[in-house]
Symmetry: C4
Subunit: 261 residues, 4 copies
C-alpha cells in the first residue's frame, strides 16, 4: 500500500498529435479540439462545393471559392501527412515504413487521400465537375469521426440482425410493385403509351404511388385504371408500414445499446 | 457403447432429385443448389419478360429475348417433368400413376404448368401480350420456395388473427372516404364536373388525399372545398395510423415466431 | 338435484321478431338472419345511390335505380313499423303507447325514420340531390349493428382517454401550420398573390405540405421560400408522428379490450 | 379534536387578481375565469389578424377589424398593467419598484409587451404588415397558459433526452438528401437546368421526394434519373421511419409523465 507515485512520462509530440487526430485514442469524452476544427473545415468545404454548383452563386465569386478550396485543401494535405506520420503510434502499424504503408492502404486513409486529390488534379487540368463531386463527398469523412461512427455501426448491426424481415418485406413490396405496374400497363398502356406503355414505364408511376410521393406527372385516366390505382395507393400503406416498423425497432434498439458515458 | 455402425443406405437417384427439388425435403439449411439455380432462372426470365414490354429495349433484340425464353422454357419443362417423376417420393403421392395424377392437380403443380404454357402456346400462335404476362407471373413461383413461403404463411396467420381490427379500421376508412367524397361532390361538383361531378369521381380525389399520395390532377378550388379537403388530409393521418399500427404489429409478431435455425 | 324440467315457454311472434331485429337481444353470436339481410339491403341501396350520382351510369338506367329504391324503401318502411311494434318488448319501452312514442324519439329510431323519408319526399316533389344524399347516409345505420358498434365505442373511449395528448399534438400542429403559413405569406405573397397572398390562402399550401399530400397546385418559387417549405415538409414528419403514435396506441388498446367470444 | 377554527384571512384585491392572472398561483384545477377570458381574447384577435390578411375578407370590413383590435388591444394593455401591478405578490419580485422592473424584463412579460405594441405603433404610422404579424404571433402567448405549457416542457425534456438519436437520424437523412441531390444533379442537370442545374436546386426536389410530399413541379425525365429517384423515394421510407419512431416514443413518454390531477 506504500507504492511510489509513478511519474506520468511526458508524452512525445507524435503521441500527443496521435491522440488529437485519432478519435479512439482521445482519452476524454467527445472529439479533440483538432478533430472539431477538421469537422468544421470539412463542413465548410463541402458546403462551399455544394453552393459552387449553383452558377448564380458561383459567377463573380470564383476567387472566394478558390481561396476556400486552396486554404482548406492545404490543411487537409497537412492533416493527411500528419496522420501518416503519427500512424506508427497505433499498435497495428508499428513499423516505421511498412506500418505507415499499411496505414496508407486502409480504407479511411484512402478516403482521406481521395479528399485531397482535387487539389492536385486541379493543377493538371482535371474536369471541374468531377473534382467538385469529390469535394462534396468529403463530407463522408465526418462519418468516421466520434460517436456518429459508433452509432452507424450499431445501426448496421441492428439492421443486419433483422435482415430476413427486411428481405421479406422488400420481397412483398416488389411483388406489389410488379403486380400494380402490370395491371396499369394492361389497363392504361394503350391510352397513355408514354406513361404506361411498358412495365418498366408503369413502375415509375407505381413507385411514386406506393411510396405516396405522388408527383402527379403520370396517373391513370380510365375508371378501371383509377380503381386499381386506388388499390395500389391503399396497399402502399401496408407496404410502408412493415419496413417502417422494422427499421424503427432496429434503430431504437441500436440506440439503446449505444454507449453514452 | 459397442453399437454396430448402421451403414447409411445409398439413396436412389429419384430420392436425391426429390430432395433437391422439394425445399421441405432438403436436409440442410437454405435452398438446395438446384433450387437456387431455378430461382435465378425464374428471376432472369421474369426480368427479361418485363424488359421485353418496353419497345425501345425489345426492338432489335428480339432474338435475345427469344433465346432466353427458349432456353429457360425448356429447362422449366424438364423441371416440371422431373417434379412429376419424383412426386411419388412424397408419402402423399405414393401410387405411381394415381399419386402423380393427384400431384399434377395440386395448386403448386398447376402454377408450374401455367409457367411452361407460354412455350407451347407460342407454337400455336397465341397472342404475345398474354404470354408475356404469364412469363412475368412466373415470379410468383418464387413465393413457394424456402423461407419466404414460411414467412408469408406466418404473416398470413398474424393478419388473420387481427382480421377484426383490420375490418374495423377499413370500415372507418371507408366511412371517411365516403363522407369526404360526398362533401366534395356537393361543394365542388358544380364547378368541376369532370373531377367532382359524382361521388365515384370524387372518390378518386379522396383516395389520393387520404393516402397522402396527392397526384394533384384534381383538387378543390373554392375556399369551403379546400377547408373540407384540409380536414380530409388531416383525418388521413389517423386513417393511415390505424392499419399501419396493426400491420406493423402483426408483421413483427409473425417474424418473431419465424423459425430461424 | 331432482328439479322438474321447466318447459321453455313458446315465444310470442312479437318476441321472436324483437330478437331478430334487436342485435343486443339476439341470443347467438353474430347477427340474426334478418339483420344480415337488412345490412345487405342498406349496402345495396347506398351503393346504388352512390352510382346514381354518376350521370354516365344513371342515364338510361333510371328505372333500375327507381326499382331498387322502391323495393328497398318499402322494406325499410316495413322494418321501421316492425321495430315500432316490437319496441315494447324492450323493458325501457313497456307502455303500449307511451313506450312506443319514447322509442320513436330515440336517436337510432330517428335515424331509421330519416332513412325512409326519401321515399315519401319523392312523392311530394322534393329535390333529387338532397334525397340522394340521405340515401347514401343510410350506410350510417350499419354503424349501430353488431360488433362494429362495440368496436367504435371502445375506440371512442380509448381516444377520449388520450384526449389531452391529442389536444397537445394538434395544438403543436396548428402552431407549425400557422407559422409556416405566415412565413410563406411573407416570402411568396408578393410573387404569387393567388396562392400565398394571405395567411388563409397560404394555409392551403401548408396543410398539403405538412400532411405530405403535396398536390403541387401551389408551391414556393423563390430560394428562401423553398428553404422554409423544406423545413415545413421536414417538420411535417414530426407533426404526423405524434398523433399517429397516439392513435395507433389508442386503437390497439381499444381492440385488445374488445369482447371476442 | 377541539381546534379553534382559524379564520381564513380575507385576501387583498391585489392577491386575488394575482391568483386570477398567474396560472401557477391558481389554487383550483384548470385555468381561472379571467385567464380563460384572456385566452378567448387572444384567439379572437389572432384569428381576426389572420383573416385580415385576406383582402377579399378585409375590404369593406376594415372598421370591424379596427374595432376588434382596439377593444382587444385596450384590454391587453389593462391586463399588462395589472400583471405589473400584481407582480410583487410573486416571491421573486417582492420589491415594489425593482421587483416590478425585474418582472418587466422577464421573457413572458416581454412577450406581453410585444403583444400590445401594435396598438401604439399604429398611432405613429407603423407599417400595417409588420403589425399584423405581431398580432398573429400573439397566439404564442397561449403557449405559457395552463397545462399546455407543462406538456410542452415535458415534451422538450423527452426530446432532449433523445437528442443524440435525433442527431444521428437527421445526420443520416442529410447524407441521403445530399447523395440523392448530387446524383440527380449529375443525371438530370444537363437536361433540366432549371430544376437540377445545381445541387441546391436538386435539393428542393430531393426534400419533396424524401418527405413523400411530391409536389410534382420537378421530377426526373430520363430512365436512369427515374431509377435513382425511385431509390430515393424508397429510402425516404426508412429516413422517415427513424425520427418518427423516436419522436413518437419521446412524445408518449412525455405524456405519461405529465401530471394529470
Amino acid at each position: 500500500m506504500n507504492e511510489p507515485v509513478v511519474p506520468t512520462p511526458t508524452l512525445s509530440w507524435r503521441r500527443r498529435l496521435f491522440r488529437q487526430l485519432e478519435p479512439e485514442a482521445w482519452p476524454a469524452e467527445g472529439l479533440s479540439r483538432l478533430n472539431r476544427f477538421i469537422c468544421v473545415l470539412i463542413l465548410v468545404t463541402a458546403f462551399a462545393a455544394i453552393l459552387e454548383t449553383e452558377s448564380s452563386i458561383r459567377i463573380g465569386r470564383e476567387s472566394w471559392f478558390l481561396a476556400i478550396e486552396w486554404v482548406a485543401g492545404s490543411l487537409f494535405v497537412i492533416e493527411y501527412l500528419a496522420r501518416v506520420w503519427v500512424a506508427v503510434e497505433d499498435p497495428r502499424f508499428r513499423h516505421p515504413i511498412l506500418g505507415r504503408l499499411r496505414y496508407v492502404l486502409t480504407f479511411p486513409a484512402l478516403v482521406d487521400l481521395l479528399a485531397i486529390l482535387p487539389l492536385f488534379l486541379g493543377l493538371v487540368g482535371m474536369e471541374a465537375l468531377f473534382m467538385r463531386l469529390i469535394r462534396v463527398l468529403r463530407i463522408l469523412r465526418l462519418a468516421r469521426l466520434g460517436r456518429f461512427s459508433v452509432a452507424l455501426r450499431a445501426l448496421g448491426q441492428a439492421v443486419r440482425a433483422r435482415q430476413f424481415e427486411l428481405y421479406v418485406s422488400f420481397g412483398l413490396a416488389l411483388l406489389v410493385l410488379l403486380f400494380s405496374s402490370m395491371m396499369l400497363y394492361l389497363l392504361e398502356g394503350g391510352l397513355q403509351p408514354e406513361a404506361f406503355g411498358s412495365i418498366p414505364r408503369a413502375m415509375w408511376w407505381s413507385v411514386a404511388t406506393l411510396t405516396t410521393v405522388g408527383y402527379g406527372d403520370v396517373y391513370p385516366l380510365t375508371g378501371i385504371g383509377r380503381f386499381f390505382a386506388a388499390l395500389t395507393a391503399l396497399s402502399g400503406i401496408g407496404i410502408i408500414a412493415m419496413p417502417t416498423g422494422i427499421m424503427a425497432a432496429a434503430f431504437s434498439e441500436a440506440m439503446q445499446k449505444n454507449p453514452r458515458r
